[in-house]
């Protein structure tokens, strides 16, 4: 049995679990190819206008799997992965959107993952799903193995291993003597999709900057900061981004937000990040990404931002020297 998993959206968050789960069940996991121009173009052409870029790219990945002859495509309906929180309306509609917009797709496996009340529902959803393919004891084992893989993944992240290294075995050279420390905020599926983000993460690392991201921060610390908001943030990604911004703002030279064109949640959370950083006088750069964003323009803006930060540091050293 060949199960296709699109290499997009929450692949970047939960693929260790998913892959191990399916493999323990005795299925062969087929990942879609890495994002490419043609994958993006396919998605852009087949999605309704105004769909956010990551969902368009997701369509492209599903289509890529269609051409790879899989028996099923795994498109979970991720309503919630955290108590009382949501991910985004589009995740709730994703299986239906995929089913109706990708022609000739094989059957879709779309368990309802709804952890708003408790994690027990999530457990049941995976067990029900697995039961279609294997006996109960095997499914339980698959679930346990999956969790184990996921825990390992999250622990390594917390220890600072970069996500691309963990998922794709890519080498990411972090410099020992970085010239700048930067917080990079955004959905994992933006930051680590080199096609969508045009390799911003890798660019920064290659240019001798230390890049701090939210998935490396302990959940308790994220909550500690997000709970200072006047109102509970009900999007998991929003809570992650705002919490990380609160935690990072005192330890970095500047913050960079990556935002996908058409993203509903980012339009509000990033606006708040921008306002809070302005009030605290922390340099903030907003990079909006769409299918027309040119790499050259993006790099120019990054360079300018880095230059500005370096000048700022120099002048601070200067003025404090004179101040004494």
């Amino acid at each position: 049995m060949r199960i296709g998993i699109p290499r997009a959206l929450y692949y970047y968050n939960y693929s260790p679990f998913w892959i191990r789960f399916w493999e323990t069940l005795g299925c062969e996991v087929v990942l879609s190819s890495e994002s490419s121009k043609s994958i993006m173009d396919w998605g852009v052409a087949h999605a309704v206008d105004g769909t956010c870029l990551p969902v368009k790219v997701y369509y492209g990945h599903v289509y890529d799997l269609v051409t790879k002859n899989v028996d099923y495509i795994f498109v979970p309906q991720l309503i919630s992965v955290w108590k009382k929180e949501y991910i985004c309306p589009k995740f709730m509609g994703l299986p239906d959107m995929v089913r109706w917009n990708i022609p000739n797709a094989p059957p879709i496996l779309a368990p309802v993952i709804d952890g708003r009340k408790s994690g027990y529902q999530i457990f049941c959803a995976y067990i029900d799903l697995g039961r279609k393919f294997a006996p109960l004891y095997k499914v339980l084992q698959a679930y346990r193995n999956g969790l184990q893989a996921q825990h390992q993944f999250e622990e390594s992240l917390a220890q600072g291993v970069p996500l691309p290294t963990l998922l794709q075995g890519e080498k990411c050279q972090a410099s020992n003597t970085p010239r700048l420390k930067l917080g990079l905020l955004g959905h994992e599926y933006l930051i680590y999709d080199k096609m969508i983000s045009m390799g911003v993460f890798h660019y920064l690392q290659a240019h001798n900057c230390q890049v701090l991201t939210s998935e490396q921060i302990k959940t308790s610390i994220i909550f500690q900061h997000s709970s200072k908001l006047p109102k509970r943030m009900f999007w998991t990604s929003g809570r992650q981004i705002l919490g990380a911004a609160g935690h990072l703002c005192n330890q970095v030279d500047g913050l960079i937000s990556l935002v996908a064109f058409g993203c509903g949640t980012d339009s509000l959370t990033t606006d708040l990040v921008q306002r809070y950083s302005r009030r605290q006088d922390i340099p903030h750069l907003l990079l909006s990404l769409d299918e027309h964003t040119g790499e050259a323009g993006l790099i120019t803006r990054l360079e300018a931002f880095i230059d500005m930060l370096e000048r700022r540091i120099l002048s601070e050293i200067d003025s404090s020297a004179h101040g004494e």
């Binding site: 105004g50 009382k84 309306p89 509609g93 239906d96 509903g264 339009s267 509000l268 606006d271």
Partner: protein, 365 residues
């Protein structure tokens, strides 16, 4: 403290009554105009959805008129509305305004806070006036929506184009002034009869249903007077979204945890599995319902990048194909121009007119 509320269709008529009854001074923002939009767009995040921007425009114009407190609703997600007030508060703060944003969160989000806010609101005149206010407001909103739906019926049947709209505007002004339940009911009856009397044109108009994001559907400035335009093109409109239902389902029943969306899920079955925030599920379910009721067409209207409605739009084209019902999706934002809008409406009405004629011919044969 002088209070204000954002515009959403004619809801201000009811909200004003409620607040006045509770002893507050009320500043109703001037009806939304191009100026409101410009103000809102200038100070809101560019990629925010349109309603947030118009709200900001309303608030700024109300503050100019002396408003000191802004009443907004809250929410628990998944769509953006639940966080609107939070962002709006920061926008106003950064602009240096001191107006307080009073957010009424749903009871299951933050019951203690809700109780506190409501207590504050009826501190002036007490509980009794609160109930009386609620009663008045409920009567008014029902009357408003009844008159609006009468207008949907009479517009394509009026002899002199524009009469209905004129009468409707007058009767809404009267309703706004009405100060007792009796008064409201009398106003309703007189005006309803007057409107129906004009509808003597014996035509069989095309019937179009409107579905979509609630604010856009209800706010004529944002939907460029969609209902009126259609009416004047000779179309009888059925607006599937209304406040009376919304208040009943989402404010009352769902606070009591009694609201069930099974009927909607049943209608949308096969297209959408369930709730996707906002009115996404309603849009799909109501389109199916309209198709089953043999409507001639459906207009789906949404603000650019509206999350729940994009999900709906992504499956609606297939509802259209399966049920052979034409659907026009209208996406609005601050750049939507009147001319293009009117042209698209006319083309759509023409198209379904021809289609209906063709099918009538087939039947006749």
């Amino acid at each position: 403290m002088k209070l204000t509320v954002p515009h959403m269709g004619n809801s201000y008529i009811a909200l004003e009554a409620l607040l006045l009854e509770m002893g507050h001074e009320v500043v109703v923002p001037p009806a939304s105009t191009k100026k409101t939009l410009n103000l809102g767009t200038k100070y809101s995040p560019e990629s925010a959805c349109l309603p947030l921007k118009i709200n900001i425009g309303n608030f700024l114009e109300a503050i100019e008129l002396g408003a000191e407190g802004i009443i907004m609703a809250g929410g628990s997600g998944p769509c953006r509305f639940g966080y609107y007030a939070q962002v709006q508060r920061e926008i106003l703060k950064d602009l240096g305004h001191e107006a307080e944003v009073i957010v009424l969160e749903p009871p299951n989000e933050n019951f203690a806070q809700l109780r506190l806010q409501i207590q504050r609101l009826f501190a002036l005149k007490g509980m009794r006036s609160f109930w009386r206010g609620l009663q008045l407001a409920w009567e008014k909103i029902q009357a408003v929506e009844e008159l609006e739906s009468v207008a949907h019926y009479t517009r394509p049947r009026e002899i002199v184009t524009g009469n209905t709209s004129h009468l409707l505007a007058n009767s809404l002004a009267q309703l706004r002034k009405a100060s007792s339940v009796l008064d409201i009911r009398r106003t309703l009856q007189i005006n309803r009869d007057a409107m129906l009397e004009m509808a003597i044109n014996e035509t069989k108009p095309l019937r179009i249903g409107i579905v979509g994001e609630i604010y856009t559907v209800l706010e004529p400035f944002v939907n460029l007077d969609l209902e009126e335009r259609l009416g004047h093109l000779g179309v009888e409109v059925n607006r599937t979204v209304n406040l009376v239902e919304w208040i009943r389902d989402h404010l009352v029943l769902s606070s009591l945890r009694l609201y069930k969306n099974d009927h909607l899920r049943k209608l949308a079955h096969g297209y959408l599995r369930g709730f996707v925030g906002g009115h996404g599920l309603e849009s799909v379910a109501h389109t199916v319902m309209l198709a089953q009721q043999k409507f001639d067409g459906v207009i789906h209207i949404l603000p650019f990048t509206c999350m729940p409605e994009i999900v709906a739009q992504s499956v609606l084209r297939h509802v259209s194909a399966d049920y052979h019902i034409p659907i026009l999706s209208l996406v609005v934002d601050e750049h939507t121009g009147e001319t293009g809008f009117q042209t698209r409406l006319e083309a759509f009405v023409d198209l379904i007119g021809q289609k209906t004629e063709a099918s009538l011919n087939v039947e006749a044969k």
